[in-house]
Each structure stands twice: as C-alpha cells, then as structure tokens.
C-alpha cells in the first residue's frame, strides 16, 4: 500500500516535470548563468532575469510572448545596456554578458514544444556558458556545480527530445544519463591526456578590469603591507627540486618601487619602464658572480597582474601557460598577459649574485629625495654623509641606528599619515617592514647613496604532508636595495637587524596559525592540558595541510596538465612528439581506427552473407541478367510474382526457389536437405526468355 502511494507520488512528480519542462528551462538557465551574472552589474542581471521570467510566465500560461517587432526592440535595448555598461571595449566579460542576455532573449522566440531548433540552440549555448565559468575559477567546488547543472541541462535535453511523448520514469532517465556519463568518461580522459596542447593563445581579448584579489600592489604606503599580513590566502605554492635555500635567501622579487612623494611609493613612471624589455636570455649581462642555483616550480594563484614571482635572481624560466615573459628595467620578471588563471612555471634562480645597473638613469632616479618632506630624516642622512665617507660604513651606521634605538617590529604600529618617515624614525619607533624599508631608503638617499624599495614575499611555509612549500599573502614583505660603490645593487633588509626580543609575538606565522586554531571555537579548549593542546594542534595542522595538499595536487596534475606534462606522459609511453607531431599522430591514428572498424564491419557483413543468401543473390542476378529489374529491397513475394509473370515457363522452379528461401529464412527450424535442394535448384535454373 505504501509502495503504491509512493508510485503515485512519483508519477505525479513525473507528470509535473513533463508538463513543466518548459517552465524548468528558464530556471535551469538562470542557475547556469548565475556565477557569471553574480559578478556583472545589477542591470545585466536584471535584464536576464526579466526575459527568463517572461518566458516562465508564458510557459505557465499567464502571458503571451512578444511579437517580432517587440523582440527587435528588446535586442536594441539590451545592446544599449551593454554599451552603457562596458563602453566599446569588447572583452571576455562583455562577450559573456552579451551571450547571457541573448540566450535569455532567445527563450522568447520559442514558439511551441516542437520548436526543436531554438530549444536545442539554447541548451547548447547553456553548455557553453557553463564551460566559460572555468575561465574565472577552476576550483573543485565549481566543477561540482558545473557537473550538477550539466546533469539538469542534459535532463532537459532528453525531455525536449522525447516530446510529444510523455517522459519516461526518472529512474530510467538517471540510469540513461549515468550510462552516457560513465561511457563518455573514458573518451574524455583519453582526449584530455592525449589531445595535443597547442601553446599560446589563438587570439587575445583586451584585459578587463577583473575584480582584484587581496595581494601585493605596485603602490606602497605605511600600513599597506601590514594590512596583508593578516591574510592567510595563498599567493603561490612552490615545489623545490632539491631542498629550499636558507631562510636569508628566500626573497621573492615583486615590484620595485623607485618613486616617492614621501608618503606613497610607486614604480618609476611607466614611459621609462615600457621602453626597456630585457629578455631572459640577456639577464646574464646584469647578473655577475652568480652562485648557488636553485630549481623549483611555482604554482601561482591568479592575481590579475603580470608579475611572475621568483627567488632573487631568476636566470632561467619556462612554462607552457606563460608567454613572452621578460624583465622590466627594475629586473622584475613579468608575463606578457595578466595572470587570470592558475599558472605554473619552472624557474632556476641564483641565490648568490651581484646585480649590475641597467642604466645610469636608474641610479639618478634612486637618489631623488622628495622636497619639503621628512626633513629630519634628510638631515640625519646628510649628517652621516658628512661624518663618514664610506658607503658601506654609512649603511652599517643606519642598521645600527635601528638596532640600538629601541625599534620594535610589529604589525600594529598605528597610523602614520604626515611625514611618515620622520614620525617612524624619531617618534613611534614601531613599524612593519614597509616603515623600515621606506625610512631606510630615504636615509640612504639623504646620504647620497642610490637606494630603492623592493616589494615581494619573504619566507616559505612547509606542507609536511605533500612536501611542498606555501607562500601566503601574510608573507608579503618590503626591503631595500642600495647601489654600492658604482658596481652592484645590494639587498638590505632592515627588519632583519631587529633583535628577537623587539619582535612582537604577532609577527610569526605559527602564531597566526595558533590564532586561527583557537578561533575554531573548540569547547573546553582552556581546560585541556598543554600536552593535549599540542596533540590537538598537531592533528589540526595535519588535517589542514592534507586539505591543502589535495588542492595542490589538483592544481598540479589536473589544472596544470599542460604540454610539458603531456610530453612527460608520452615519453613514459615511449613516444617522443611535440604538439605538431601529435596532431599528425592523432589524425592518422583516428584514420587507422576508422579504417580498421570499417574493415571489421565489412568482414562481419561478408561472413554474414551466408551460402543461402549468396545463392539467393545469384538467383536475383540471373533474373536481372535475363532482363528484369529487381531491387534487393523487394520482398521475396514481390520477386516471385514478378518473375513468374515474366517467365511463366520457369514458374514452377521460381516458385520452389522462393518458397524454399522463405522456408529456410523464416521457418523455426531449418532442414539441411532443404538448403542443399535450394542451392541445387538455383544452380540448375534455366530461364526461358520466350514467353
């Protein structure tokens, strides 16, 4: 009884689904577009929803669809909206917004259930929209979303395809989709692994103003880096080929800031920088005495900038997803395009090196002290220059100044808005790296030593589970470079001289971890013994590291599956081929498979044409030879009638042959004698043309 009621309910649900696959379409479409619409402006979102609602109300029977003229007006309106929103820049985002609006509008053109053309077009475009979400994020959660939404789209496809018949049971449809999916999966995996990966973009759309994530910027002011230090977000992950270098070598070079007004630091004006692009192959001109090579792979999270972080100083770089990378004249490594997707590249860096200057201009620029600001800093620097006439000694004096004057290294130094360098050096004496770096550079400039601020990341955090290293936003750092004795830029990190007891506890990453650990709100945490706490902490650490390890492997092997990994796989299989060869290999492989399949079916067909059929064919050929025109598609009865009419004298033998044939073919049991008889009769058949 219970079961029957369940069946009834299921049937009701089914009939609803069937009845309303029209009304389900706009809902599924909206869900499909949602991740994209979420990031666009409200008006585009609303216009899509408006069109879909219209269609929804229509399919529920409330209102009529617009006529052709009104649709035309709506198209014009949507184009105006798009134009207002994006101007005349046709970027990826514009293209997707246009696609979303047009798909929603297309729904209004569906005339009836039988309008296969429009419905199929809409569903295929929806599949495409689904795929484009991966251009913005490639996380596992998005993959799950896309898969589930794809399932619903496919269900709709099945429902519309089945019209006007009522939908089969849900169980059947899920079964069908499961079969389709599982059978398609091996094909997808094989294609994924072996489809040639062609390097480089085929075309490029202008960069759009994608919403920036937290991370380094090319501007620095007091508080800008310490703001980042609270972020646990991952900037990039690193796999070292061997062991990582010592802690004092772990400086990941980012933007070099040369220009300042005393408060804000920025890169030197772009007209200088753009003119000079240094190819990676030429980098050895600027690096001398390089020693201690380290090789590693960086998996960079998208940060919407061109920067490719690497240990100072990179000399070799390769990667399939990066293109036309170069050094700017500050010797920062840049990619031609902005990094919108997870990007992997391999770098070899020299951690011990001497950096020569790219141009004389650069040194002059690094001497500019902003007018009328930070006058105390200026006078301190000038004072040192007067006393000491040795650049190295001046630097040592400056570092000693930080060391002995009760300076503290802290994340929360408080705001310094006016004359920040003076305020930091002579009043507060508490600061984060940007305070140290900027004041140090200003002191050097005041003393006549060219100096500049370098920003980037410092340090690494080991993931014990996956044996790789993580660099987080909290590793963001700023340090200084000074030009020494007209020979070389030298890295000076003023924060490194601060004695350990003057570093406030919140600086260390472990503390950050402990903080977030305690924020987990585990009940009775305070009551646990310290040993238990450590055990619990270690467990928590292992779990989070395992999760991150999973993400890393996902990034590394699925998202980062590129040309080089494909080549690796192929060489493991004993095939040496670049992508051009791979295309040839694939096309010829497909041709071979196609031909063999054809040959097999042909052979099978040949085997199937058994003796009886062969003699039946000879019989027909004989008839045709004698002047009849019999097609193979004619039934034996038709042939019999025609043949007897044409050759009445052979009527009896024709009749026997056909009757035998029908007996052999259609009787439940076949007598071997009958077959023999049939064959001999065909052989003996003599057609008399004379009527």
């Amino acid at each position: 009884m219970q079961k029957r009621r369940d069946d009834n309910q299921i049937n009701k649900l089914l009939s609803m689904l069937n009845f309303s696959s029209n009304s389900l379409l706009p809902i599924v479409l909206l869900i499909t577009m949602l991740p994209h619409l979420y990031t666009t402006s409200v008006i585009i979102f609303l216009s899509c929803v408006f069109f879909l609602c219209w269609f929804f109300l229509h399919s529920s029977g409330f209102i009529r669809l617009p006529d052709k003229f009104l649709i035309f007006v709506l198209i014009i309106l949507s184009i105006i909206i798009l134009n207002l929103e994006y101007g005349f820049v046709f970027s990826q985002k514009t293209a997707l917004s246009l696609l979303c609006i047009m798909v929603s509008l297309k729904c209004l053109e569906i005339k009836n259930d039988g309008d296969r053309r429009n419905i199929f077009l809409i569903i295929f475009l929806a599949y495409f929209i689904l795929a484009t979400h991966f251009l913005y994020s490639q996380g596992i959660s998005l993959l799950i979303f896309v898969m589930i939404d794809g399932l619903f789209l496919s269900l709709l496809l099945i429902a519309f395809n089945r019209k006007p018949q009522p939908l089969l049971s849900l169980e059947h449809n899920f079964n069908l989709l499961g079969q389709l999916f599982l059978k398609a999966l091996p094909i997808a995996i094989i294609l994924f692994l072996f489809f040639p990966r062609i390097p480089g973009p085929l075309w490029s759309l202008p960069d759009d103003g994608q919403t920036g994530t937290t991370g380094l910027t090319d501007k620095m002011y007091p508080g800008s880096v310490s703001k980042l230090s609270a972020s646990k977000e991952i900037a990039f992950r690193v796999d070292f080929k061997k062991s990582p270098p010592a802690a004092d070598k772990l400086y990941w070079r980012g933007p070099v800031l040369n220009h300042t007004d005393g408060f804000l630091w920025s890169q030197s004006p772009s007209k200088h920088r753009m003119t000079k692009k240094i190819q990676v192959s030429d980098i050895n001109q600027f690096i001398s005495n390089s020693k201690q090579a380290v090789s590693y792979t960086v998996t960079l999270e998208p940060h919407q900038k061109q920067w490719l972080f690497s240990l100072e100083m990179p000399v070799k770089i390769s990667g399939d997803t990066i293109n036309n990378f170069y050094f700017n004249h500050d010797l920062q490594l840049l990619n031609k395009n902005k990094i919108h997707q997870l990007t992997q590249y391999q770098v070899t860096s020299m951690t011990d090196f001497k950096l020569t200057s790219v141009s004389h201009n650069e040194q002059l620029e690094s001497l500019i002290f902003p007018d009328k600001h930070n006058l105390k800093t200026l006078s301190l620097g000038r004072q040192w220059r007067k006393k000491i006439n040795n650049d190295r000694k001046i630097i040592a004096t400056a570092l000693d100044y930080y060391r002995h004057n009760d300076f503290y290294y802290t994340k929360n130094p408080g705001a310094m808005t006016v004359e920040p360098s003076d305020q930091f050096l002579f009043e507060k004496k508490r600061g984060f790296c940007e305070h140290y770096a900027s004041s140090f550079v200003l002191l050097m400039r005041a003393a006549g030593i060219p100096a500049r601020v370098v920003t980037g990341y410092q340090g690494i955090e080991k993931n014990e589970v996956g044996n790789y290293y993580i660099v987080r936003q909290s590793n963001a750092h700023a340090w200084a470079e000074v030009w020494l004795e007209n020979k070389t830029w030298i890295r000076i990190d003023p924060t490194a001289v601060i004695p350990a007891d003057h570093i406030e506890a919140d600086i260390f990453d472990t503390n950050l971890e402990r903080l977030s650990f305690s924020s987990l709100n585990i009940p009775n945490l305070t009551r646990l013994s310290s040993q238990q706490k450590t055990a619990l902490y270690n467990l928590w650490k292992t779990v989070t590291q395992s999760i991150d390890n999973l993400k890393h492997n996902w990034n590394n092997w699925i998202l980062g599956y590129d040309q080089s990994k494909q080549n690796l796989l192929l060489s493991l299989m004993g095939i040496q081929a670049d992508w051009q060869n791979l295309i040839i290999l694939m096309v010829s492989g497909m041709a071979v498979i196609f031909i063999t399949l054809k040959a097999i079916t042909f052979y099978k067909q040949y085997r199937k044409t058994d003796k009886v059929y062969q003699f039946y064919l000879t019989f027909i050929a004989q008839l045709n030879h004698a002047g009849m025109s019999i097609k193979l598609s004619d039934t034996p009865y038709q042939i019999k009638d025609q043949a007897i009419k044409t050759f009445p004298r052979s009527a009896s033998s024709i009749k026997l042959i056909i009757d035998h044939y029908i007996m052999i073919r259609y009787a439940s049991q076949t007598d071997k004698e009958l077959i023999k008889d049939f064959i001999s009769r065909v052989k003996q058949l003599k057609l008399n043309n004379a009527v």
Binding site: F128, T132, L168, F192, Q341, L559, D562, S633
Partner: protein
Amino acid sequence: MLAAAINFNNSLVFFFTFLMVGMGIISMHMTQQNLLKLQLTIAHVPPVFCRQNLSLPLILLHKKNPVTNIDIDHHSIAVQLWGKDLLLTDVFNNEKSILQLHCPTTQRGNFKLPALTISSRYPLGLFRAWSNVKLHCNAIVYPGQSINKTYQPKSGAGSDGISPEGRGFDDFSGFKSYQQGDSLKHIHWKAYAREQGLLSKTFSGSTNHEYWLDYNELSGDTESRLSQLCYLIVQAEQKGDRYGLILSNKTIQISQGQKHQHQCLKALALF
C-alpha cells in the same frame, strides 16, 4: 568550446569539452543501438474498397538474441509513411507495440505498401538513425463501388442446372451443417446443446433470389464493369441473395455469406 579551451589553455574547459564530445559519440552509438534488432511485421489487414483508407496494424517487437538473452528496450521509435505524420512509440522487451498506419488506396488488387521510414532520435536528439523498410503485407483492395440499379441478373436456377431449394428467411425448410458465414440467428442452438454439432436452420422464401452476376453482360470498360460488379455483390449480400460470379477467366459458384462475398470481391480485385 575547444577553441576557448586552447586559447585560454584551461584544463577544466578542455575536460568539459571532451566530456561533451564523449557524450555525443556515445549518444550516437545509443541512437543506432536503439534501432537495431527491431522486428516489424504487418498483422492481418481487413480488405477495403478502393479509395478507402487502408488501416495497417504494424507490430513492432524486439528481436531477442537467443544466446545472450539481454533485455533491451527501444524508445521513441518514429514510424512514418511517405508524406504522412510521424507516429511515435516505445517498444519494451517482450512486449508487442502496435501502431495503426493509415494508407489511402488508389488501385485495386494486391496492396503494395510503400517503404516505411523508421527512425529514432533517442536519447539526446543529437543524431537521427533511420532506415527505410519494405514490408510484405497481404492486403487486398477491392475495386471501388459504382452504383448500377438497372442490371437484371439472370436467374440462377436455369443457368446451371443446380437448383437447390432457395434459401431465404421466411419459411423454415430444414437443417444443414453450419458453414462459416451463416447467420448466428439461424443456428439451431438446441441441437448444439444436445451435442449434435452446429446446425444451421435453412429457410425457403419467396423473396429469396438466386442469380449469376456476369462480367460480360455489363457495359463500360474493365474498371467500371468491375466496380459495378462490386456494388452488385455488396448489395446482393446485404439483401441475403444467393449469387454467383462469372468473369472472363473465372467462375465462382452460387453461394452466399461473408466468405463467399470476400472470394468474389477478391476475384474482382485481382482480375
């Protein structure tokens, strides 16, 4: 999609695209499988007069492989006679599915069924598998009827020497063994209850007629003569007359009943 994947070198777009490709290929295969092993036969077709619609019961059945014996269902099979609407049906394993095809007739004789197109778009509608099937059907199309009220058939009694007592409806004259086509009203049910077999009562009556319908005595061309004969046979059967048919190549003895009528009309159809 593939272009987008290559352009942005995006692994998941690649994967999604290839999954779609895979599903397309598999659905193509499934569409073809859906049409395979389908057995089509035409069941008995009741004869019609020319220019009437012939209704053909098409039986679809899954042809089971006796070795593997796997259950296979066929979904959304579309059958189409040339120029007609699609008929859709499902064929479940071990179940016959019957479709009524309607076909206009234009010619008397053995009905030649035009090729049927059976097709299927199941499951996703990306592909359409189809096949043209020529089926043999034993359908007879009688000539059309054309009214002739002037023809006076010659009486059957004198023509052949066979002069059985006329059978009519008015006066009871005896029993004869039941023949197919005899009216149920005339069965002697009491005798049947006594287990004497089925007996029909015979009647003699003054309204009873017995005559020959002769092709040669009619005027007009072949087709119109046949049509007139057709009309006369139907009329005679309705009136309960006994009649025989004389064609140039065939003679059918005087009799009556459904079977006799069919025999006569068939002779006309195949003339």
